[in-house]
Symmetry: C4
Subunit: 230 residues, 4 copies
């Protein structure tokens, strides 16, 4: 494990934070079957990231399973493992947003919603107090547009799509890859984790709201149930 300190965060510090976050995501079923990946910036000039290794059980992710990579996802630390297949996406997000940490989850609700709203190219979430936990958001009267990008195995092409999407939507706090999952980021691992928790929560609220809405013969969500509501 690479132990030298760089810039404002040491590799060991961020790897430990990310490992702890990964295990908590696994517990919540957001990173099962070795899915999901996590990264954090260790230095900016030149760009160095701590990146989770590929194919690791996130419930057992420990510090030593992080690699130091450069901006081309080349491994700099002495390590047998490969970095996550999606390293180029993390790197692009860091560059576009100046993020300090990038997190990727596969959850039931982010997968369902990424599919449901794919044709619209994204989904809007607004009016929830929970949105205030997103960086820079001060009121529940905020409209968060989460873009949905088509999934692809061509990582270079996908990284370009991610970059274009982030340019086109400079205020978004995350995006969905269709039938794949959620990407979000933050200034540091803690903020990125907070963003994941908020967006996963809101995606489930939005999804379940649709179920309640769709089952209603009149098509409206709020039926003025009053005393009938039991």
């Amino acid at each position: 494990m690479y132990e030298k300190s760089y810039g404002s965060e040491s590799f060991a510090q961020v790897a430990a934070s990310l490992a702890s976050i990964a295990r908590s995501f696994y517990t919540r079923d957001w990173a099962v079957g070795t899915s999901g990946n996590l990264s954090a910036v260790v230095d900016r000039e030149p760009l160095r990231l701590a990146m989770s290794a590929s194919g690791v059980d996130k419930g057992a992710l420990l510090m030593h399973l992080f690699l130091l990579v450069d901006e081309h996802a080349r491994v700099l630390s002495e390590h047998d493992a490969k970095p996550s297949d999606e390293s180029l996406l993390h790197i692009r997000i860091v560059k576009e947003r100046g993020a300090g940490a990038v997190l990727h989850t596969h959850s039931i609700w982010n997968t369902l919603l990424s599919d449901l709203h794919a044709t619209a190219g994204g989904l809007a979430i607004e009016g929830y107090e929970m949105l205030k936990g997103l960086h820079g958001v001060k009121t529940h009267e905020h409209r968060e547009w989460l873009p949905i990008i088509e999934n692809s195995q061509d990582m270079l092409g996908l990284a370009d799509n991610v970059g274009d999407t982030l340019s086109k939507f400079p205020d978004t706090h995350g995006f969905l890859l269709r039938r794949h999952g959620l990407y979000t980021w933050g200034d540091d691992p803690e903020e990125a984790k907070r963003h994941v928790e908020i967006l996963e929560f809101l995606l489930e609220v939005v999804g379940r709201t649709l179920l309640l809405q769709r089952g209603n013969r009149q098509g409206r969500f709020d039926d003025g149930f009053g005393d009938d509501s039991r």
Copy 2:
């Protein structure tokens, strides 16, 4: 951390209880992404509350992250942190109800139901044995009306709405803020925690009952399924 003892509860005692409760709420997904807040009365004359700090991860909430505040939410303890943004709501509830502890959760079901029944201004829950765990309720044949208040970032105005609602509904054990969450209280942290667990349970039962009801073409919940019920 402020350690002096006041009245019937010491600050340290209630802060420890509330911290433990916060962590259990986080585990249940009722306080994710730093949402939720908790308070307990340390003294009544003058009014002193232990209040959770603003923006703290409730899964990592420890005793030292509670502040001592007065009835205007001014911080009395030596502490770098800010008290919860919603401190004025806690204070109003304590004053209106003589509560010993106030708890606020953001859950999937309390968020969904706060939205679904907003037009009606509240929802009724009745007939469930679980209602007997609410303070003063002796039978399942109890009708609990949970008012729904529109959310706002104007804390002074919102505290007044809360106060008015509590005066108008003197028997209610809690209320919902639309697209925000649940507030409930108790004589002490343990009772308030019991109330949260009961109301969160019942809100999920009510919500899922609606799904079963709405999917039914005849619109009735109980269809006399008998042997067809599988």
Copy 3:
């Protein structure tokens, strides 16, 4: 805590088992807000049960919170606490079935199903391999009829209803109290716990099957989806 040994099980042994079971039920959200109760036979002649105390948080239930009671629910051990309000139901079940342990849970799904099928007086569960875990059941081609009894605060009357129901349905492994919860039992705490887990699982399967069935415009559960099924 009463420590003398009786018959085949000592009080300490069964209280420890039940306390552990209670805490696992609380973790599963089957005994929140102090709901639920547990008992086990300590001696048969005369009848002595270890009974959970009333109003205790099941997540914190320890051995010392069990009382020794007789067949009239009178407390024999030196204990400040009251026995569960539903002690008479436990005693009646022990007498009718010769059970060694009786467990009572309040879960989302047992509450929903107890309401949904109330008019039919019960619900049938058949064809599931999971049924084989019920005492005496050797094949999935078993039809389990779970009676639903109307809830009441009149414990004497309710105990009689429970007794009558158990006489009328000698093969049933459990019953539901409407808008209240599930009662099941076993030869010992371990078997009763296994029964709870199996019935709670099956009630959720039955409930979710209804949702899938009701949402289907043709009213059938299996639509021969084949390749459309995604």
Copy 4:
């Protein structure tokens, strides 16, 4: 417990892995009420498997509750317990696929889907990134066909059905037994566990997609909600 080493895995090693996996499945509600079973190959010539004992609480499954069995499910280790009733299924899967470990879970969603698609004889899952975690799958543009086999108490007949199904679908990574559960396997316990997590995740996504789809009056999943999507 049988401690001699065979071939590439020692009995103790695989029993420890499987016990840990069983307890994690129990925590996820995939092996409640003593359901589920697990095996791993200890030697191939002659065939020797570590097999979970019958009727054991999977939340308490420890290494010593595994038995060494031969290809006829006869117990070779000195052990009072019986091997799992479904040992012959594990053995057949090992022979047909050359698997190193076989895992069987009973979950809410695998039970629901096994029933829903029974008439079609199976269900297809395609287009999800999560499929890439299955052995040999390199892209999300993979179509996984999960056969559904009718359940039976005739283990010999059922083992033959399993064998025939595996021959007929040489690429499948698992199969469902109707109203019973999921069987999957891998080169070792870790891979089999990864397969369970992936398939259980995808079965829930498929099931919940159906609910969202069925509730939609137009019958389409993606309605181009755009800004209406809340």
